[in-house]
Structure formats: C-alpha cells, structure tokens
C-alpha cells in the first residue's frame, strides 16, 4: 500500500509520544501546568483520529506497511497495521481518552503535587502500548514493551508508600518477564536471523522441531505470561492495581494486560501460525490449563476480598484467564469470543474502576461494605455499577454476555465441553461477588449519614455514563462487531 495512508502507523504513535515529551517542559510554568491535562486529551484525540482512519482504511483495503527510515523488510524495522493492530490501537486510545478526560479532578485530588508527571507518564504508557500495536518487528515490540512497562511502574508508584512497594514487586516480576521475552526472540533470531514478523512467518513454521525454536516459544510464553498476569504468574497484579491511585488503575487495568495478550497472539498465530500452534504439543494445552486455573482462582479469590479495588483486580486475573481459554480452544468462534472479550472487558473494567474512583472521591469508599454509603446518594454511579456488574457476570443484552457466548460455542464445536461448563461456573462465581457488592448499593436511603460527601466530579460522571452507554452499545452491536472481527482480525488458517 503506497500513498498518504502509508504513514498512518506512525501517525497513530507520534501525537501521544511527542506530547509526552513536551508536557514536562510545559509544566515548568504555572500557566503551562493548567494546560497539561487538556493538552494530553488533545494528543489522545489526535492519535484516536489517526487510529480510526487506519482502521477504516485497513478494513477496506488491507494492511498498511510503513518501512521506518526507508529500509524495507527484512533489513529495516517494519511498522505494520492490520485489522487487529488498528482495532487494538483504537481501543487503547478510546479507553485512555475517556479515562484521562474524566479524571482530571481526581488526579488533582489524589496527587496534587505530581499532576504533570502523572500525565507525562500516562502519555508515555499509551505511546508505548500504541507502539506495540503498530509494530511489525519483534524487537521493536520489546522496546515499546519496556517503554510502556517502565511508565506503568512509575504511574503505579505515584500512589504513596504502599503503592511503591507494589510497584517494586511489579518491577521485579515485569523485568524478568521482559527479559524472558527478549530471550525468546533471541532464540528465534538465533535460528532464523530474522526479527520481522512477516518474514519470520515464512520460515518458522518449517522449523518447529528445532530445539531452539521450542525453547524460544517456552521463554516467550513465560515472559509474556508474567506480563499479562497469566496464572500462576499473576502475583504482582492485585497489589499493583489496588494500591495505586484510582486514576492510575483506571488507566492501566483495561488496556495493559490486553496488549500483552495481543503480543502473545501475534507471535503464536502470526509468526508460528494456527497449524503450528495446534501441532506443537503442549502449546494449546498450556493456554487452556493456565486459562482455566486463572478463571477459577481469580473468581474464588475475588469473592474473598474485602477491598473493592482488590476484588476488581482479582476479577481481572479471572478475565485474562478466560481470554486465554478462548485462545487455547483456537477455532473461529472461540477466537472471535476472545477478541470480543478483550473489547468488552476493557469497557467493563474501565467503567468499574472509574466507579471506584468516583465513589472513593465523594464517599471515601474503599471496601465492599463502604459501598453502603452510596445508598440513595449517587444514582448515576449505582446505575452504571449495575450495568457494568451485570455485564461482568454475563447477562444479555450487556456486552459481557457475547464474548462468553462465542467462546462457549467455540468450545462446544471443538468438543471441549468442560470449557463450556467452566465458563458457566465462572459466571456464577462472578455473580456471587458482584451481587455481594450490588446488595450494598440498592436504592434504599441509609439510616444515618457519617460525613458530608464531597460533590461528584462532573468528568467522572460523564466517564461512567459514557462507558455504561458503550457497554450497552457494544452488547447491542455484538453480532456486527463479531463479524468484523472474523472478517479482518483473525489469523489465517483457522
């Protein structure tokens, strides 16, 4: 593809990245400091426009390649946007835009002296994730992976002393994960001499018996598993999500682990190919086992949590497990369901963490029992909570049902009935802990009020309303979205 559209992969990445570099300079002056949040939102909007343009271009005309510096593959670093990349980039940018636009008041309340560094790190994180989505070269993905991870460590650490301990644990495990990823692509490079995904795809499927390739895949799965909180490598996630500031969690939780799943999908299904994944024992079995264990462990542990954000964090472990289940089953419906669930879960978790943020701001809600303070006081928040919670459980017509439905269909078609049973069981478990929380927030006025609540920030109200509407819209349009996924985003050979 030539012409002006060819530069779109870079145009998705540049506005956010360049603004991230400009913000600290701007923050030196008092006037500049007030400009920082709107400028961040503006940069995200510019990138989102490019991402939507790229998505429509890719859906009509096919993938866009941009050879960075004019060096074409296999010598140069390839930037490549296909259906999956563009979809992921659009999702990342939409969630980041809504979260940052909604949370300015909350950021100023939680970290009053660190507003500019917060926005800088947030934009660097998003630019790293966009680089991962738009990159067609495995080592380039590593570089952006580290950019995003280091920014995430910093973002989480802005939350105070407990958050710094959680961030240190995340640094330790995350760095080992990234090093294992680098080692994995090192083994692939050792055997083929290539780093570009499209070039590797021509040579790797013929070399599946080589020990170097098998060791490389093992390290890749271990490294990316650490990054995406695949069971049993999920230990860093609960503390990191619950101890960080509410806005940092709302920003990181919907998109970070999903992008790591995207890297795994790219490597397994594009570099190795669908046939190779089915042929290489025990690749699908590992995905299925880790996914199933994550689903069960996450749901059971979430039920036992008292802190609201910790409950949501363990719920995320469960949902990542569910996505891995879909990848492990590996047929068209299951992959449709897994990708659909990436979209849906981002919307749901983003909404839930914004709800947590708003409830903490006005009523100091930290634990599930504290949710009772919201009775009769925050109708919009409670309505959004009902929608998001029903969607997490998987009640139609909210979007959460449809991701699970497709994976269930795929599992039954593949003869893996136990996966279908597990999905239903996990939905029941999810219902348990969400109903426990919902029970506190029903519309009965409380008997007494403790302290006068602070006014609800308008941005967060808007954010929760927008995401709840998006949850319902994604549910309403599930079938067209699933068809678009099947048409443009699935790997070849399913």
């Amino acid at each position: 593809m030539t012409g002006s559209a060819q530069i779109l992969p870079v145009l998705i990445f540049l506005p956010v990245f360049l603004t991230a570099l400009v913000l600290p300079v701007l923050g030196r002056w008092v006037g500049g400091r007030r400009l920082v949040p709107p400028l961040a939102v503006l940069a995200l909007s510019a990138s989102l426009a490019a991402a939507i343009q790229a998505l429509s271009s890719v859906l009509i005309e096919g993938p866009i390649q941009y050879p960075m510096g004019g060096w074409s593959a296999p010598y140069g670093i390839a930037w490549r946007v296909d259906g999956l990349s563009a979809g992921l980039a659009a999702l990342i940018l939409t969630m980041a835009l809504i979260t940052l636009a909604a949370s300015e008041a909350r950021v100023r309340a939680e970290t009053p002296r660190r507003v500019v560094p917060f926005y800088t790190l947030a934009l660097l994180l998003i630019s790293g994730l966009l680089g991962i989505a738009a990159s067609g070269d495995l080592f380039n993905i590593f570089v952006f992976l580290e950019v995003a991870s280091l920014s995430a460590y910093g973002l989480i650490a802005t939350g105070g002393p407990r958050a710094q301990v959680a961030a240190f644990r995340y640094v330790t495990l995350g760095t080992i994960g990234a090093s294992f990823y680098l080692l994995g692509i090192g083994f692939l490079y050792a055997k083929t001499g290539l780093l570009t995904i499209s070039e590797l795809a021509k040579h790797v499927p013929a070399m599946l018996d080589a020990p170097a390739i098998r060791v490389g895949v093992a390290f890749l799965i271990a490294g990316l598993g650490l990054k995406m909180a695949m069971f049993p490598l999920h230990g860093w996630l609960a503390d990191a999500y619950s101890d960080a500031t509410d806005t940092a969690t709302a920003l990181i939780a919907p998109i970070m682990t999903k992008t790591m799943v995207y890297i795994l999908v790219r490597i397994l299904f594009w570099v190795f190919g669908v046939e190779a994944v089915r042929a290489m024992f025990p690749l699908s079995q590992i995905l299925l086992a880790a996914g199933a264990a994550g689903v069960v462990y996450g749901s059971v542990t979430a039920f036992r949590q008292n802190e609201f954000k910790r409950m949501l964090a363990y719920s995320s472990v469960s949902q990542i497990g569910f996505i891995l289940l879909g990848l492990g089953v590996g047929n068209v419906q299951a992959m449709q369901g897994a990708f659909l669930h990436v979209l849906n879960h981002a919307l749901m978790k983003g909404c839930l963490f914004l709800i947590a943020s708003s409830a903490a701001h006005t009523h100091g809600v930290r634990t599930v029992s504290d949710l009772a303070r919201l009775r009769g006081e925050r109708p919009l928040l409670v309505a959004a909570f009902w929608i998001a919670a029903l969607s997490m459980i998987g009640v139609p017509p909210t979007c959460g049902f449809f991701g699970k439905w497709y994976v269930l269909l795929g599992a039954l078609r593949a003869g893996a009935a136990w996966v279908a049973v597990l999905i239903v069981a996990s939905s029941l478990l999810t219902a348990l802990y969400f109903f426990k929380a919902l029970e506190r927030t029903d519309f009965v006025k409380p008997a007494r009020r403790e302290e006068s609540p602070k006014p609800a920030p308008a941005g967060l109200q808007f954010g929760m309303a927008a995401l709840s509407a998006a949850i319902l819209a994604a549910g309403w349009f599930s079938f067209p979205i699933a068809r678009a996924i099947a048409a443009a985003m699935l790997p070849e050979g399913l």
Binding site: F139, V143, F168, T175, S179, L183
Partner: protein, 125 residues
C-alpha cells in the same frame, strides 16, 4: 569435554540467568533483588552477543572503500540490539533504585520480611 569447550558461552549464560533469577526471587534484601534483575538482563545480552561471533572474522567496522565481504566480519546486528537492551536495563535500574529510596525513606528498612511486617503493622493500626 569438547562440547563444554565449544558451548562455553552458553554455559556462562545459563549460570548467569539462573543466578540472577535466584537472587531476584530468593533474596530478602531489595538491593540484591535489583542486582539479580540486572544479572538476568546481562545474561540475555551475553546470549545475543555470543551469536554475533563467527570463526576467523574481525570486528564489524568498515575501513577503506569498496563493498565489504560479509564473511570477513562478525555480525553487528546483535550488538546494535543489545545497545538498546543496555539502555533499557539502565532505565529499569534507575526506576528500581528510585523506588528503593522511597521505600527506605518511609519504612526505614531494605529487608523484604521486615518491610512486609511493618506494612502489616501499619494496616492494623
């Protein structure tokens, strides 16, 4: 013995990798964990660099004119990749040390078990 001699660099890589992982997971002192992380990253760098060597080649610096014969030079690409990895390692080191400074300032300890104990006491209070 010949196998060991010809694969010596891979053995060193494995020893460094495992030592680094052990330090990062098993040590109680936070600084030692950071050292372990850095060892893991260094071992990966050694792995890449050991792939760039070919027998009877020289360092990949062009001198003079004319098209060079690639068979005469070692592979420069892993070195270029590892320059980036070194930068990433330094950045990670910086972030971890900054976190350790903050943790020490607040909890006055660098041992993980004492740290967790003091955090638990603070939660109970």
């Amino acid at each position: 013995m010949n196998v060991v001699a010809s694969h010596f660099h891979y053995l060193v890589f494995v020893v460094l990798l495992l030592t680094g992982c052990f330090l990062a997971f098993a040590c109680r002192n936070l600084i030692r964990k950071v050292i372990g992380l850095y060892l893991v990253q260094t071992s990966v760098m050694l792995f890449y660099l050991s792939q760039s060597w070919k027998d009877n080649t020289t360092i990949p610096i062009l001198e003079g004119h004319g098209v060079p014969d690639p068979a005469l030079y070692a592979n420069p690409l892993p070195h270029a990749l590892m320059l980036t990895a070194i930068v990433v390692g330094v950045a990670t080191l910086g972030v971890s040390l900054a976190l350790i400074i903050r943790i020490h300032r607040r909890y006055r300890t660098l041992e993980e078990d004492v740290l967790l104990q003091r955090m638990a006491e603070e939660d109970a209070a």
